[in-house]
Symmetry: C2
Subunit: 220 residues, 2 copies
Amino acid sequence: MRVGRADLNTRSRVREAAIAVFGQQGLDAPLRAVAAEAGLTAGRIVQLFGSKDGLRRACDDHVFGVIRTAKRDTMVSSAGATMISRFAMLDEFVPYLAYVARSVQAGGEHAREFIDHMVEDALDYMADAVAAGTVLPSRDERARVRYLTEISLGHLALRLSLDAPQDAEELASCLRTHLDAMALPALELYTQGFLSDRRMLDSYLLYVGDPPGQEQAASA
Amino acid sequence: MRVGRADLNTRSRVREAAIAVFGQQGLDAPLRAVAAEAGLTAGRIVQLFGSKDGLRRACDDHVFGVIRTAKRDTMVSSAGATMISRFAMLDEFVPYLAYVARSVQAGGEHAREFIDHMVEDALDYMADAVAAGTVLPSRDERARVRYLTEISLGHLALRLSLDAPQDAEELASCLRTHLDAMALPALELYTQGFLSDRRMLDSYLLYVGDPPGQEQAASA
DNA sequence: TAGGATCCTACACGCCCGTTTAGTCCGGTG
DNA sequence: CACCGGACTAAACGGGCGTGTAGGATCCTA
């Protein structure tokens, strides 16, 4: 029936199905759900990937690889944190974004590594943006970038948990309303904050005696 | 052995143990783990609470009740979002905070309701703070408060996922380092944002034609 | 001390899951 | 033709889980 030369087709087909199912239902979705989506059996998936963890690893490698290259192509404008918005706009990336959120939500070494890598990348963008004058310098660039990255991913994961989309269309619309709802408050916060004076910041700086690294602004 | 008049002691003891275990391991922790922590059997817990879901409901009611009253007592200062920080400072609230994060992470109706309630409360604080002049007004107060609430909870849940604390001490230290790491970037962001000009915000406002509700600032 | 209510345990049932295994189908090759 | 190897399935295995139940231990009451 299936042609599957050297079953490379099957592998990638199962991988795509797994990314979709895991993104919608979470990483703990039954292997049989992935099998149904891909049109074969759970046993066959184990034969192909060794174990469920092997499948997860294959998904990780592929998704993070895709995102990494896509990021390299897109890396232009200002905020490293809003890069997520840009991804979600392209419909093709929606399943990958959902998978990332689920993966990060599930924790583990992979998630930590991915976030670390994302932070390192964003540090570059941020430095460029600071040098270009579109972004204000920070007293601790790495802490800021990590904070922005984590709240973006955490917010996304929270939204997926709350809405529990059942199929691809629900997932896409969920992401879209998520971005719509956060656009205004995020932009407001990003451009002017929400505290009217520097008292809290200054008292904190006085209390801890300025940041650990004591980095100076940008140096691209 | 155990005295347990009318087993009210046992009920609350099991509930406390469940809150601790669920907060550390997640809402899907085995009932038997809770039983071990509380010093009895899984079957007994079912007898006491009807089902695992009944236990979860009892935990929800208690935790959210405690937080609600504690919030009413603490509700003073500025940022509704940093209220979480204040909670985590008090060691007694650490398990409850972790439970909330896990609960929100697991999704479901309870989590949604809790967030909605938190948003409504924070709306009041925010309005007061705006009236007092410590917080800038927003073009959409409810959207801002919801955004701040969600990113705080999402960030916290993400941190718990990544660090996977095994016992109470690890959990406490995890929360503490979490707050330490986010304090500076959050305060920076809250007082001055990170974008150096209003171009992105203005172009967005032009694009969507100002906010939906068109609320005016505060009216306490 | 007898009896009964209550707290609690030990155990078994049924379900779902990942994984294993035996077997089937089928195209290619001598 | 027989044969072989790979793709795939169906069924079963074993473990972990929530849950129901029968029985034992303990304590209050008369």
